[in-house]
Symmetry: C2
Subunit: 234 residues, 2 copies
């Protein structure tokens, strides 16, 4: 998939040269004329087209077994949480990927979250196909068989989520795999005192479609409740 | 939704005190016994239960109109990109939210990405319901009527995505709204030379379910292709 993003990156450059707007969007943008809102002069924004450049996106490494039981991992950023009860998440994969066939077959997958120190691993397993490469052997990462779902997780990754496939949804070029979370497992050093993953200890990172980079997580901006109160004061 | 996370936060503390495992998961974890992979001694991970604590998640502010044309915004972190062609994304919302009814009615929504300086706004609009509060009036944010879809975007937010609803999927406690991206619009100062949003200029932030905080984006870890080569060297 990362290879695919690389291609998008090249296309973006070519596309940008040819079709970038002239910056004047006054015809396209209308003032909001809504009861009670008056006439709003729209800030001039540049249209950059119907593209998946909504940043940042998470970086999840998806673990699965193939028909023969060979474990595979691939990186996915077209992902998200779907439901709180039952706790569910989704990953969207192209049919061409090896993992797509694996999840269809095994009805299960894991989500593995890397720390910054494992960024090169997350990058690598997103660039090559499990059809051609045994990614565990190549990287030295260790597959651990889940006892809850028919999928492997990565021993060296500090946060792993075991998912049972509950639904597939076709969305254009991708198939969405919705999985019910059967358990979340974490290396103890990344947990907070209240037993939840602490982002400052986990040190996960995000992906930026368009520029195709990974970025670490920065400073805390504060607790959401406290931040909301700041807005109320104004 | 953020209010909901606050509740989860409290529950987490209560839950952690009572049901945290004793740390010994040796019965639950099995060694991987896969052809060619030998016997893998599984690192001891702590089970933290079937929960949506997969961090970090994006912070998207969803714009919609109600029946009467009143614009509303709410924050959602159960979100993700779904498809590259057509470019599509999804947000998952509980039926109880005002936005849920709005999108069902109008078949459209926007995704608005805030910079760090707007974090308090993103926090606030996730804590109160548009049923009780006119969030645009309260915050002073400005709704701009999209000319492409039947939804408003936020003038002050530097990156906005206009989406036409294409599918809804029920996933447990939430309804997933899948939208086709009709356009992405950005304030020019946040664009890179190649015309894509530059995370270092946009300064978006992420949410950490469990601790209920916002975190900024940190340092670049590098280009994904370059990182992948590092893994191959080893």
């Amino acid at each position: 998939m990362i290879r695919y993003f690389g291609l998008i990156g090249i296309l973006v450059v070519l596309f940008a040269a040819g079709s970038w707007q002239d910056g004047s969007l006054s015809k396209e943008l209308e003032s909001a004329e809504l009861a009670g809102y008056g006439q709003n002069e729209a800030e001039e924004k540049a249209s950059i087209g119907a593209r998946t450049v909504v940043i940042p996106t998470p970086v999840w490494v998806i673990g699965s077994y193939d028909k023969e039981g060979k474990p595979n991992v691939m990186t996915s950023s077209w992902v998200g949480i779907c439901s709180s009860k039952p706790a569910s998440l989704m990953t969207c994969l192209r049919e061409a990927t090896y993992t797509h066939g694996n999840i269809m077959e095994r009805k299960a997958f894991t989500v593995n979250i890397a720390s910054e120190s494992l960024a090169h691993m997350a990058a690598y397993v997103g660039r090559v196909s499990g059809r051609n490469v045994d990614k565990f052997q190549k990287t030295g990462l260790t597959p651990v068989k889940s006892t809850l779902v028919d999928a492997p997780y990565i021993k060296e990754f500090p946060l792993v989520v075991e998912c049972q496939l509950t639904k597939t949804v076709e969305v254009g070029s991708h198939t969405m795999f919705i999985g019910e979370i059967k358990d979340v497992k974490a290396d103890k050093p990344i947990l907070s005192e209240t037993g939840v993953p602490d982002v400052e200890k986990l040190k996960p990172f995000v992906f930026t479609p368009g520029s195709s980079k990974f970025y670490g997580i920065g400073q805390s901006l504060g607790n959401v409740s406290a931040l909301a109160k700041e807005a109320e004061k104004k």
